[in-house]
Subunit: 433 residues, 2 copies
């Protein structure tokens, strides 16, 4: 077995596929020394000519390319299939077919894992092969394996991650330049940091998939995309960012998983975190996952959440893990880690602190009335700043103490019904201490 | 095998030993669910009465305590021995005896691994058992396993770690309060953050052990303590820290491993790093290891580098890895990762940028003369600040460009021989870009 060569088939030679192939070629010596001989024996790519040119460019054999899945799957000596096609239709069919044919699969497909994770993991187990997906969360940052293995001795009290590079880039630039959301989004699109349809990133849906995957692992109970509460960064303005700064906070889009009283809270939303928090310094397109375990305490894992080589680094780590399992004859042993069945906490039951920016009538007694109404719903106030505006309007900045979100919503509804509150300009959650 | 209970014997029930036992008791349910039933079947502790009281305090069986090693080693159903005695004499004998008796060993002993790592790993392999040591570097932060497994696809260009909490605490406080080294050291001792004999921490020797261990793993070639160049923080003054700040830098004690032209550079010394560097924000007693891999790019792993539960978290992760190997019948498969034999780079060949603070004669032409002498040795200057002092003395702050350290030393020797340089007050390395 020591001299056996392990055959890899790559489905999809896009950015991450080519990055993975590049690492397998460029770092061949260390990979051979550390783990074994790993060879790209087949590549499935619709744009076959481009794929052949790309493979030639990195010194790999262009003859391995095919654009036919059946042809691909019938490849001899193909031990491991790497799925980098993306999406939840074709990719799902191909992975299921590969698993059923006894191939171990490595994927970076967060959409698929966040929705069909259980089906895929169960199919792998039934067929005695591995299914690994480290690259599906936070690109090159080891976090899935870290949670499963390195932090195994911990009850994870909470994880909070900056798990989307596009939104972190936009918020970082808005913070540094006091810039406008739409202008910076436009520039991010020009730079290739944001998609032409940025909804999945900006709206928090990309991060939500990662929260579903990480929560399932952290709490050993299945969490799917639908279980995650999602809010994006569309409404964040430079005014909120500067207000946050003057209050000692930074605004980040965070993906959060937490276990409270046996229930799982899974959510993505903008949050104000103290400037001294380790996540506050994570800028530009970088990602980081902050994990608070009941043994290890506060830890953080930082790096590139996307890109050809960083994501390829995670894919190659998974390939090597499968190779190791083949060498040791223990394929298919690590199945799904969701052996429990916990409930998902509803938004109304979340406990949060809030920042509220609102336009109110500038007249004596208005603040007292607002404070009274908030208090009626159990919302107590940590700090208030009032700024004079035009036309007898004032702008109020309030930070509340922790409150149940259901009560908070009722307080907001009541305030909207009064004639002194003209508009809630923004409401942003603030980190609880 | 699924219902087998795995027996743990702990040697040394000090801080980390009790932390480990606490985690095994407190998180028994998740450990059982995630990995299997793990039981403390024996504890070896010289202070047996104290150990019994401590075990009772966490709900563990006090009857497992013994103060006799032979008695300990003859325990039935003891699958894994956890060594937390420390030191390099008794601990080495005990580990070797346990390995030879077919017990897998988990240790947090950096002194031992940095000096006798090869002997211990070879003995484990010869006896078909595991020897794991995640807790020996950076406490609760997963870094050994991360480098071995998660970053396996990378050639590690460089790692730089804040791997000693005591010195990081002292430097953080000196930076925040512009405080005096000796006063803060005294306070750190009173708080229990520094030993009564702080030499190993302050002098950089503790970090050097961790650099030896991590370099061996990163570069797949044995690096022992003697191979590591070491400089401590004794000479850092508040003056240097404020000079660094005004130049845009923070001073940290870093442990660094780097591969250059096939040679390994392993060193511990204070270094000025840019304020925006991810390591710059790592304060107080926290540790962090920054790793630059040729695939993943820049990553950082942050957390508690010491303490009962954080270090215990790493010990428990290793215990669970051994249990997994037992369940899969693959004990003793992961041996030493040093399959290469690379040379160690000598200090003279290090390439560094330097900060120099020196007292010079305050007279026209002096600066020109100093610049000329530095230039004769190939030391070019990035920036200079000159401050008037008393008694016709001036203080010079120079930051150089990169230079071979051998040439730099000669330049310094030559400058000392002149009558215009009164004193080199400090020389600190500066991060190369």
């Amino acid at each position: 077995m020591a001299n056996k060569s392990f055959g890899i088939g790559i489905m999809g030679l896009g950015t991450v596929g080519l990055g993975t192939a590049t690492i397998l070629m460029k770092n061949k010596d260390v990979l051979t020394g550390r783990r074994g001989k790993i060879e790209i024996v087949r590549v499935l790519e619709k744009y076959a000519d481009r794929a052949r040119a790309d493979l030639s460019g990195i010194g790999a054999d262009p003859a391995v390319v095919t654009d036919d899945f059946d042809d691909f799957l019938s490849t001899k000596n193909m031990d491991i299939v790497v799925e980098l096609i993306g999406g939840t239709t074709l990719a799902r069919d191909f992975i299921l077919a590969a698993l059923k044919k006894g191939k171990s699969v490595v994927t970076a497909n967060k959409d698929l894992m966040a929705i069909h994770g259980k089906e895929l993991l169960d199919t792998a187990k039934d067929n005695q092969v591995d299914l690994r997906f480290e690259a599906s969360v936070a690109g090159g940052i080891p976090i899935i394996n870290v949670m499963k293995k390195d932090l195994i001795g911990n009850q994870i009290r909470r994880f909070m991650g900056i798990m989307n590079g596009t939104t972190n880039y936009i918020l970082t630039r808005m913070t540094e330049e006091n810039g406008d959301f739409n202008e910076i989004l436009k520039e991010a699109q020009d730079l290739g940091y944001a998609e032409s349809d940025p909804t999945a990133d900006i709206g928090g849906f990309d991060a939500a998939r990662k929260v579903a995957i990480l929560s399932s692992i952290a709490y050993n109970s299945r969490v799917t995309l639908d279980d995650v509460y999602v809010e994006g960064i569309e409404k964040i303005t430079s005014r909120d960012i500067s207000a946050a700064a003057s209050l000692g906070y930074v605004i980040k889009l965070l993906g959060i998983g937490e276990e409270i009283d046996g229930e799982i809270e899974a959510r993505v939303h903008p949050m104000m975190i103290p400037k001294k928090h380790p996540l506050a310094a994570v800028g530009d397109t970088f990602n980081a996952v902050f994990v608070d375990g009941n043994a290890v305490g506060e830890t953080m894992f930082y790096g590139r959440g996307a890109g050809d080589l960083p994501t390829g680094s995670a894919v190659v780590a998974d390939i090597c893990a499968v190779v190791e399992h083949m060498q040791n004859g223990v394929l298919g042993v690590e199945g799904c880690t969701c052996y429990l069945d916990k409930s998902i906490r509803k938004q109304d039951d979340f406990i949060s602190k809030f920042y509220i920016r609102m336009l109110v009538k500038d007249s004596p007694g208005v603040l007292a009335m607002i404070v009274k109404i908030l208090g009626d719903y159990g919302v107590s106030i940590a700090s208030v700043i009032q700024e004079k505006g035009d036309h007898q309007q004032a702008e109020l900045y309030i930070i509340t103490h922790s409150v149940r979100e259901g009560e908070f919503s009722k307080a907001v509804d009541t305030l909207i019904g009064t004639d002194v509150v003209y508009q809630f300009e923004n409401i942003i959650r603030v980190e609880r201490d």
